[in-house]
């Protein structure tokens, strides 16, 4: 028997006129998972969420919630609830009335409604706000009420559409932690739409990175960051260097040639690349180090890349310093060095240096 997922999308396509918003997306979201849809605006993440909620119907493909095919089932008949980006609290109702709305529609007994409203208000620590109108609350409070209004219905899956987008940075950080703790507490599957990669990395169990209606990679935060599947993911998540290279060999080890003619090995190569192809070597700035010319190891391991360069720019950013280094062919790379060295002479602009990294951190991706 196959596993039943909280939400499963099978080859889902959504077209608006001639525009393909979601292009053959398949996802399996597990029970109790904090799953993020991450991508730039217009990548189809919100449309995907809206199709799960039932606000949009797929042009083709199928959506299952707890193994149950949704088809054209309208939003009000789906076992999911949504937290909207603008909260969408009913302005003519009090906080308590807002929260009770879903239960009222499902004809929950009055005393139970009352009890659960009080409970959930307690959970989001806004018990004393029950009789206020949404307009009388701050943004952060409204956000928590929107969350309470959805959670009180104990949905199979909670859908969140950039729920923290309207909050200021400090509040957003606090809410990220609160949301994650809440999710672990209630054990409900969260599907979380965001364009903020840091938010996704911090909160998610797994992330689907989307662009132009296509899912580029699905994985846990560490996999997404450390092992990006393609150039888009590497570029969108965190900071990365792309060094233009030519593939020299794929086996027994992956070897590429830099513009300067220097050859280095790499830990991984994207499928579809063959010897002689032009590609990019992707490596994170914090995975690299700089050596003085006289520090060059005499007998380096073959996994250690050693490439000549010249320091062209230094930017001090507190925890570390960003060293921009021009390689032999003029390609500039950023090397982030933590400011932990005492008494060591800092690098100077114009100084020759050897850029070094471990081959395992270098990934060869299509251009």
């Amino acid at each position: 028997m196959t596993e039943t997922y909280a939400v499963e999308l099978q080859d889902v396509v959504k077209q608006f006129g001639n525009v393909v918003a979601v292009n053959h997306v398949s996802l399996q979201i597990r029970d109790g998972e904090f799953f993020s849809l991450l991508g730039p605006s217009g990548c189809g993440k919100t449309t995907t969420l809206r199709m799960i909620a039932g606000f949009e119907m797929p042009t083709s493909g199928a959506i299952y919630i707890q193994g149950d095919r949704q088809g054209y089932r309208p939003a009000n008949k789906r076992p999911v609830n949504t937290v909207f980006q603008n909260y969408a609290l009913f302005p003519h109702m009090t906080v308590a009335e807002n929260i009770a709305f879903g239960m009222e529609m499902r004809k929950t007994p009055k005393d139970e409604v009352k009890r659960r409203v009080a409970e959930v208000l307690d959970m989001v620590r806004l018990g004393q706000m029950a009789n206020r109108k949404p307009k009388q609350l701050s943004g952060g409070q409204q956000q928590r009420i929107a969350l309470a209004r959805a959670l009180v219905n104990r949905p199979e899956v909670l859908l969140l559409d950039e729920p923290l987008g309207a909050l200021d940075l400090k509040l957003r950080k606090a809410m990220q932690i609160e949301l994650k703790a809440l999710q672990e507490d209630v054990g409900i599957t969260f599907i979380y739409v965001t364009h903020d990669q840091e938010e996704a990395l911090t909160m998610s169990d797994r992330i689907a990175v989307m662009n132009n209606g296509v899912v580029h990679q699905v994985g846990d935060p560490e996999t997404i960051y450390e092992h990006p599947a393609d150039r888009f993911v590497a570029d969108f998540i965190g900071e990365t260097n792309f060094i233009p290279v030519k593939v020299v060999s794929l086996a027994p080890e992956i070897v590429v040639e830099l513009g300067s003619g220097e050859k280095v090995t790499a830990g991984w190569v994207e499928e579809g690349l063959s010897v002689g192809d032009r590609a990019v070597l992707s490596i994170r700035p914090e995975k690299m180090d700089l050596l003085e010319l006289n520090e060059k190891p005499s007998n380096p391991s073959k996994d250690t890349a050693l490439v000549n360069g010249k320091v062209t720019q230094l930017v001090y950013v507190g925890t570390d310093t960003r060293h921009t280094v021009a390689l032999g062919d003029g390609t500039e790379v950023v090397v982030r060095l933590q400011n932990i060295y005492i008494g060591e002479e800092p690098w100077e602009i114009g100084e020759d240096a050897i850029v070094t990294w471990n081959a395992a951190h270098a990934r060869i991706l299509k251009e």
Binding site: F90, P91, G102
Partner: protein
């Protein structure tokens, strides 16, 4: 550091200019207000004049108001006006609201055409509309058949043609006001309702309608006022023997102007003003009512 002299003098000149601008604007404002409100003020003052003259002051009296309320013809016309306004407002508010929902929420073939047709009764001259309606009632055979009704003890005979005529122009006004409100409304509120298990009717009843209420009430008050004040369309579509208050006043003027007409007009003014104030207060209470004030 001191400012160079030439800039100082320039500043002074600017000051004088802006001051003069301020004065002339104030004067202009006063004149404009006088032009608009002085006739109304005179009308009201002379409704209390203790003489038959409407131009020479001869002391204060409530006589004309007493006479007005003893005049059976005037009383009948007031009842006619009220009945007509209430009935046409109810019908046109329902029709106009439905039309607004349809136009704002659904896409269909020829929507643009229907859309612009709704503005037609607002922009075409009353007289053109009145003649059109008159021809329509004659040709369709509806004629001036009256609706005989006992309205708070007053025996009225209101021609269906007048009611239809009032509904015809009021529906457009209601539709426009309600649409303005609808356009401002956040659609995600309706999505939120359906997300919280409300079906289409519950969503409309619990979310859309309450949110629209200020617009609907505003549209209804506008329709009521327009119906109460209408002369041209009523005059053309009522046939002989049916008078609303404005039509009655017109009839009285033909026999000479007395302060009784001032009294009647003052009464109409007071009612209209009250309605406007109510609508503004209602829209204030609902928080944002720009759409409601539209049209006044």
């Amino acid at each position: 550091m001191s400012v160079p002299a030439r800039f100082q003098s320039n500043d002074r000149w600017q000051q004088i200019k802006s001051k003069m601008g301020g004065w002339s604007l104030t004067t202009y404002g006063i004149l404009a207000f006088a032009f608009l409100y002085l006739p109304i003020l005179i009308l009201v003052i002379f409704s209390f004049n203790d003489a038959r003259s409407v131009s020479k002051w001869a002391g204060f009296t409530f006589d004309w108001y007493g006479k007005m309320f003893k005049d059976g013809q005037i009383l009948l016309s007031i009842w006619n006006s009220l009945f007509l306004a209430i009935v046409s407002t109810i019908i046109s508010t329902v029709l106009g609201t439905l039309a607004a929902l349809g136009l704002e929420r659904y896409r269909f073939r020829g929507k643009t055409a229907v859309d612009s047709m709704f503005y037609l009764p607002v922009i075409i001259p009353d007289i053109a509309m009145a003649i059109m309606l008159l021809l329509f009632f004659n040709m369709s055979g509806i004629g001036f058949t009256p609706w005989k009704v006992n309205f708070f003890g007053a025996r009225l005979a209101v021609p269906y043609s007048v009611i239809i005529g009032h509904v015809a122009f009021n529906t457009s006004f209601v539709a426009i006001v309600v649409r303005a409100r609808l356009a401002q409304m956040d659609r995600t509120l309706e999505e939120a309702a359906s997300d919280l298990y409300a079906n289409a009717w519950q969503t409309f009843r619990r979310v859309t309608l309450p949110m629209l209420m200020p617009g609907i009430v505003g549209g209804a008050l506008l329709a009521f006022t327009l119906s109460l004040d209408d002369f041209v369309i009523t005059f053309f579509t009522s046939g002989a023997g049916f008078n609303t208050l404005p039509v009655r006043v017109f009839g009285m003027i033909k026999k000479g102007v007395t302060p009784k007409i001032n009294a009647v007009s003052t009464l109409m003014l007071a009612v209209s003003l009250t309605l406007v104030v109510i609508s503004i207060l209602l829209s204030r209470r609902s928080g944002d009512g720009d759409s409601v004030q539209m049209g006044f």
